[in-house]
């Protein structure tokens, strides 16, 4: 049992190294000179040389990588090329907001998705099943930036119930668990929840239908269990898969909320990335992608470990 857990945790090390190497290479893989973003084209040569030294661009690549990694390990991801602020602070402030949004969205999406999926799978072929499945297909297919704009038009512009942008009243970035802040969260979270809702519904529905066809379900009924109890067995069999899908979805939400964050001006990593791309702010890009990727790795680790606890067979394979 513990060997599996240990192996799975050690597995993270090479992945992390590969991820950081990729992030580091971004600077040199992208077209153009990274210096272009920092100094203007007509700057004197001494100034260019000085900045080059300050950013470490004058050293050999392996050394740059080693230096970058060792700094990153100490929590220093460099300075923003656009405004000179510390990348680490920028990224983590944004990550906090994105995490909040992603968690809210997956809470909605996961709850609805599991409920819908269990109901649709259990009463497969019924009217309820067809309604729910149609809804799920719609959720997966609809472009969410379009849905976001639609919600803004209905709930902000027409009904004036909910704010259309920002993470809180004013331009405040400190979040608090209060209605004034929560109402800012509703529209982006709902918009973002539609995809995991659809994916989870479809996965859970398929799993439930598959499990109900297993012989052990007949055996459970044959020993006289109440239908509620049979349902519980089905749920426990579905849980590992549902969990894995949700973990992956949460990862996608963290990285994939760029469009939704842009539509709602939500000050998260998506907006940060969006701005960094347009300003060619490579340190911010590097830092954000690295942090998001590591988060994804961590999330997968947690999902795998949780799955192994739920389904004893996983540790064997």
């Amino acid at each position: 049992m513990s060997t599996y857990f240990l192996k799975r945790i050690l597995y993270v090390v090479p992945i992390t190294l590969a991820v950081s190497f990729f992030c580091f290479s971004l600077v040199h893989l992208s077209p153009g000179d990274p210096m272009d973003a920092v100094v203007s084209a007509d700057a004197p040569r001494e100034v260019v040389a000085m900045v080059e030294r300050a950013y470490g661009f004058d050293r050999p690549l392996p050394e740059q990588f080693a230096l970058w990694v060792s700094r990153a390990l100490q929590g220093d991801l460099g300075l923003s090329a656009a405004n000179g602020r510390a990348v680490t602070a920028e990224v983590f402030a944004a990550l906090k907001n994105t995490l909040l949004l992603a968690l809210a969205a997956s809470l909605i999406g996961f709850t609805l998705g599991c409920t819908f999926g269990l109901l649709a799978g259990y009463w497969q072929g019924s009217l309820l099943d067809r309604l729910v499945t149609g809804f799920a297909v719609g959720g997966v297919s609809v472009p969410h930036y379009w849905l976001g704009m639609l919600l803004v038009i209905v709930f902000s512009v027409e009904l004036n119930w909910l704010p259309s942008s920002g993470a809180g009243p004013g331009s405040s970035n400190d979040w608090a668990f209060e209605w004034a802040y929560l109402r800012h969260l509703i529209l982006p979270a709902v918009t973002l929840s539609v995809i995991p809702m659809g994916v989870v519904t479809r996965t859970v529905r398929a799993m439930v239908a598959e499990i109900l066809a297993h012989e052990f379900v007949e055996a459970l009924r044959a020993k006289g269990l109440a239908e509620k109890r049979v349902f519980l067995h089905v749920v426990k069999n579905v849980a590992p898969t549902a969990l894995a899908v949700m973990g992956l979805q949460l990862g996608y939400l963290l990285g994939g909320s760029i469009l939704v964050e842009t539509v709602f001006s939500w000050p998260g990593t998506g907006l940060l990335l969006n701005n960094a791309i347009f300003q060619r702010d490579l340190p911010i890009l590097q830092g954000t992608i690295l942090v998001l990727a590591l988060f994804f790795v961590l999330l997968n680790l947690i999902v795998d470990l949780a799955q192994a606890r739920l389904d004893p067979r996983i540790q064997r394979s």
Binding site: E215, E218, K223, G224, L225, A226, K236, P312, R313
Partner: protein
């Protein structure tokens, strides 16, 4: 559907030899599917099982033997199945039971063991928990007491290091071991009737014998009634008092095991005997029954075996033969019984 069960045709059940039988099936019909395409899996089966008796239902795949067995616990999917006739187990009308009565009856009055023990356990619960769960359900005891019962049962079905095995997941047990565990599960609430659906088919030959001997021993100790479904005549001979041979959803021959095996009278039973490998026939070619069973969505009007039967004549393809008494409870449904007498 439930309404079908409620509106089934009332059948007057004639009293048979034993006054208080364990199982009494009268004119059972089981149809599956949609109005467009119906499969008539069972077409009028009459069967009686005395208390403490062991009956084997013998037949090939698709003969309706497993469906008949499942009807005794109403285990077939309700939405797709039409059950008519009468099924009484231990004096209770199974087809008239409410959902709640049915779940109290299953596992307690009648219990079932399955063909593939590995597939009949929920893979994500330990076998001990799955037995304890059943005991808790029917006797209202705690999980701890349920597990104590499970341990007792594991010893009884001779699973080595029983205590450790209780904490195993199904995939950690071998085939023979999990069938023993399945038997322990089935016996956990001391059922009066044990239904066994090809319990040895998926096992190795050596394990098969052990499981059969175990079942026979437990049956004698506990005085249970048992219905065994199999396509293996050797198994039937080994364990049962009586045999009922099924073909295309109907019983074609029934009687005491010795008399049916020594003097089979229905051409289908005869064919089964001849297609079996045994010592005396060493060196001879095995004879198979030519042809294939009929399509059960459109069964023939006459004897369903007629197209494959060497004795068939015009009568056979036109009208259904009834059961004829051949003495000592040995009965067969055939128009040409005169020709099959040896």
């Amino acid at each position: 559907m439930k309404s079908d069960v409620m509106t089934r045709t009332a059948v007057q059940t004639p009293l048979t030899a034993s006054a208080d039988p364990m199982v009494e099936i009268r004119d059972l019909h089981v149809h599956f599917g949609t109005p467009r395409r119906q499969v008539q899996a069972v077409n009028g089966v009459d069967l009686t099982l005395a208390r403490g008796e062991v009956l084997t239902i013998l037949g090939e795949s698709g003969s309706g033997k497993s469906v008949t067995l499942r009807s005794l616990m109403r285990l077939l999917p309700e939405r797709k199945t039409r059950l008519t006739g009468s099924v009484r187990v231990d004096g209770q009308d199974v087809l008239a039971m409410s959902r709640r009565e049915l779940s109290r009856f299953r596992g307690r009055t009648a219990a079932m063991i399955f063909q593939e023990p590995m597939l009949a356990f929920d893979p994500v619960f330990t076998v001990g928990d799955q037995i304890a769960e059943t005991v808790c359900r029917h006797e209202g005891v705690s999980r701890r007491e349920g597990l104590a019962r499970a341990l007792e049962l594991f010893d009884r079905v001779r699973i080595p290091s029983a205590k450790r095995r209780l904490a195993n997941y199904p995939y950690e047990l071998s085939g023979g071991m999990s069938q023993r565990a399945m038997i322990a599960l089935a016996l956990s609430c001391r059922p009066k009737l044990l239904l066994a659906d090809e319990p040895t088919t998926a096992l190795d030959a050596t394990v098969q014998i052990q499981i059969l001997l175990l079942l026979r021993e437990l049956q004698r100790e506990l005085g249970m009634s048992v219905i065994f479904v199999t396509h293996d005549m050797g198994v039937a001979n080994e364990i049962s008092d009586r045999i009922a041979v099924m073909y295309a959803g109907r019983l074609v021959e029934t009687g005491a095991v010795d008399s049916v095996i020594a003097q089979p009278r229905h051409p289908y039973t005869l064919g089964l005997m001849h297609s079996r490998a045994s010592g005396e026939l060493r060196g001879q070619r095995l004879s198979a029954i030519p042809g294939a069973p009929p399509d059960m969505s459109a069964p023939p009007p006459g004897c369903a075996f007629a197209p494959r039967c060497p004795h068939a004549d015009a009568t056979c393809t036109q009208a259904l033969p009834g059961m004829s008494e051949l003495g000592d409870g040995h009965r067969a449904a055939c128009w040409r019984l005169g020709e099959t007498a040896s």
